[in-house]
Amino acid sequence: MKICVTSSGQTWAAAANPSFGRAPYFLVVDVETESIDPVKNDPGVHGAGVQAAQTAADRGVAVVVTGSVGPNAFQGLAAAGIEVYIGATGTVREAFDAYRAGKLSRATAPTGSPHRGGRR
């Protein structure tokens, strides 16, 4: 199973990023092997949440671990059958471990506003 941790960098030591749509990187972690594959998230001016959901879906992740997720991104992730866990803090490693330990809560609805991360 693959999970996606939103990140400010490309390594385990990078800070987990609180935004889903506008996080600079998605660290795709293979839960079994703990190998990581950094994917550059490249939000444009418009529709960052939808685009990010598309990227996560295309990578075949089952779970997204992030700080908060907006309505468009949530709808896209839900349609793809991807579970969303929110409240990630610290490094990617810490966020991943918190998820594995069951310390993060699962979002059943959007937790952020649209356009939170960027300008219109």
């Binding site: 418009h46 939808v50 685009q51 959901a53 879906a57 468009n72 349609a79 300008r119």
Partner: protein, 280 residues
């Protein structure tokens, strides 16, 4: 003469300038006032127009004909605005992100995309004394003001003077209001915030290659930084409206400044003359 009254910062006095100027102009010229602030129109409060025409403004959004769709994902890939996603084996449409450009329909190899109207808001036209009046209103929950502003400008009557009360800010709705005008008045106030947003608004005017003049409202309220900036940039200050409780009271009573204090008719007539000087 098509003149936009813009500001950058909200609440600096765009409507104060636009409505008083329009009324003064209308005593001598055919005048149209278009309130382009479709997110919060307020010129009608001062001009009290009789509105006789009403149109709904819509954008065209895609619908997917499931029978024809082969789930190729070309539409989602083509969308510049990410209004389409292709996840879980089907296309998802985010109507509020759609700009109605029609590209998804053009790239669909199976002719599976139909378009339907998605209403964005309404425009209304009428008469306020001698002034031809038009304004629009963006529906709650919608974010795309530009198509409404575009339709307002297209449908408003031609006249010798068209005064456009622009939305605040420097984003898409402002560009829609300012593009194709002859000149722009930038209304500001002598505060750090007023100066900051004036700089942004001047940037827009220059980008659009528009002759610009400045109106300083609440003059004397705080500092001279705005005056200094205008001098440095070679921006003419065409009118100064003092920081005066009686002017604020006229606004609070939703009355025209030139009605409450008729001595202001002449400065607004002078402003109109100065605007003409800008475009010469």
């Amino acid at each position: 003469m098509k003149l936009a009254v813009a500001s950058g910062k909200g609440g600096t006095g765009k409507t104060l300038v636009a409505v008083n100027l329009a009324v003064v102009l209308s005593s001598e010229w055919e005048t149209t006032l278009i309130d382009c602030d479709v997110e919060a129109p307020n010129a009608h409060l001062f001009l009290r127009p009789t509105l006789v025409e009403r149109d709904v403004v819509s954008k065209r959004v895609p619908r997917i004909d499931e029978a024809r769709c082969t789930e190729c994902g070309a539409c989602a890939e083509a969308c510049e605005f990410h209004a389409l996603a292709f996840v879980g084996g089907r296309a998802l449409i985010f109507e509020e992100l759609c700009h109605g450009c029609g590209r998804c329909g053009l790239v669909c190899p199976n002719d599976a995309i139909r378009e339907t109207d998605h209403p964005l808001g309404e425009i209304e036209r009428g008469q306020a004394g001698a002034i031809a009046f038009a304004h629009g209103r963006l529906r709650i929950g919608e974010s795309m003001a530009s198509p409404i502003i575009g339709e307002l400008k297209r449908s408003a009557p031609e006249s010798e003077w068209v005064v456009l009360d622009a939305p605040p800010g420097t984003a898409c709705p402002v560009i829609s209001a300012l593009h194709d005008v002859d000149a722009v008045l930038l209304v500001t106030e002598p505060t750090p915030f007023g100066l900051h947003d004036l700089r942004a608004a001047v940037g827009v005017a220059r980008e659009l290659d528009l002759p610009a003049g400045v109106v300083i409202n609440r003059d004397g309220f705080r500092d001279n930084d705005v005056e200094r900036y205008c001098a440095e940039e070679g921006l003419p200050v065409l009118l100064r409206i003092p920081f005066d409780r009686r002017i604020a009271e006229a606004g609070a009573d939703v009355r025209l400044l030139i009605d409450v204090r008729p001595e202001w008719k002449e400065p607004f007539a002078g402003l109109a003359a100065s605007v003409k000087g800008l475009v010469r």
